[in-house]
Symmetry: none
């Protein structure tokens, strides 16, 4: 096996060769989860800006399906940077290919209760909530987002 | 390796820190499976109150797709605590987002033949049956539920 | 469609047909997670007595692999009811088939940092921690278990 | 798009063009499951000669990991037609590639408790049992196999 000559090109290293990402902390996620619990038995998933899970909590009497559903909502929200539910519905409803084909996207879920977390205009994470009617889940998300909107 | 400082807070432990769940036994599941076989070649899946499988049986001439279909029905029934079929249809049909988006729920199946098992008002398990027309599957479920309704 | 003859056997229903399980609450899981953070950047997974996820948290600087590793440890701990690490090692080391075959168990992980949560002798949940050396992870688990041992 | 000419070869159809498979019935599987329960808290999976599931039962206090482990054992047993455990160990232990590589087979599990079901020399199904020490699981399998050996 030949000796491999390591390329000696010198790369000038400047700020353009790297990107910096801003992401929520676990501390922020915990505050959001605390605020999200407003009387509905829910599961909450919070992802960082890279889609990795930061926090998950399931209320004692939340329905079992809420565990995975909260994850799907959070993943779609971080995946596109727009909330699940009506934003998506308005986006797809009048285009036959989008309307029929959106559900083919990996992990797509139309139901409301997933939202990007924005901070100074940056996508810093996402939250997904499931457990009640999707309109209730949306209210819980709204309550949680006060942390970053205040 | 850093020195670990274990927090010495003592938590008073009381009954609020635990919850109690009631679930069907294998014995109950076996009785239900026996009653469900009323002349249709079916697969039967029975889950406990937490969604873990307790019993599965496939009749000799049941179609192959019934194996996984019975599981999907049982899982959705334990996941939300309501039967598959008409209950779901009535719930989603008049809301465009629910109507379009329900099928995005993990493991969703609209077809009848899945049902929660309720005992004294508690969700103690779920049953999923597949093999015939969904209306036949529903009859089999009804026959099986005699165990907990009697 | 054939006429379905529902069996009319009436089953006398008594308490032997149900079992009762005790499980940790989200509140207990949150206290455990708080106690587990003792200076190591870890991920924490806490499962209820049936293996369903109750809580997950990832510290800001925990390594990415800790996310799934904490889950594996918790699942194995709830799956068998014994801690990962030395308990397993002692159990398998002198039997050639166990020693070689334990890793074939679904989701097996030998590394310490997973533990059942016991309360009055019942398996009420499990915790899995990952992020440091497995001996550090074990210390974090030990710190968390103070909740149920006090 | 060109018109496709369907090949007009006539295939003489005789008995050699089809095979007949002999498989256990659900009735046999139920008898085996009944016999397998000899005081250990186990999960039992029984597959037909084609690897499709016929029966699954989980005893009330069987460990959670036994659910999937019983499936793995049954699948490997039907997959190769030889029991898991010592038969496999003897087969692989003195060949370095087999010894190291057997665990790469899809769904491989070395632990005893899986067995083909043979009837008149034919592989008519498989059983997998998990819940105790693998030697206990093997005893349960042995008890179940009395159905086809008697």
């Amino acid at each position: 096996m030949p000796i491999l000559a390591i390329k000696m090109n010198v790369y000038l290293f400047n700020m353009n060769t790297m990107i910096t990402k801003t992401s929520i902390t676990l501390e922020t996620a915990k505050k959001m989860a605390e605020l999200a619990i407003i009387g509905i038995n829910i599961s909450i998933t919070i992802l960082d800006c890279s889609g990795n899970e930061v926090l998950f909590m399931k209320a004692d009497h939340a329905p079992l399906i809420s565990i995975e559903t909260s994850r799907k909502k959070a993943k779609l929200a971080i995946g596109f940077g727009i909330p699940t539910g009506d934003s998506w519905y308005q986006f797809i409803k009048d285009d036959p290919i989008l309307s029929k084909g959106a559900s083919d996207l990996p992990g797509f879920i139309l139901l409301g209760g997933g939202s990007p977390i924005l901070y100074n205009g940056n996508l810093v994470g996402a939250i997904g909530i499931s457990g009640g009617h999707y309109k209730q889940d949306e209210k819980c998300v709204e309550a949680a987002l006060v942390v970053v909107n205040s």
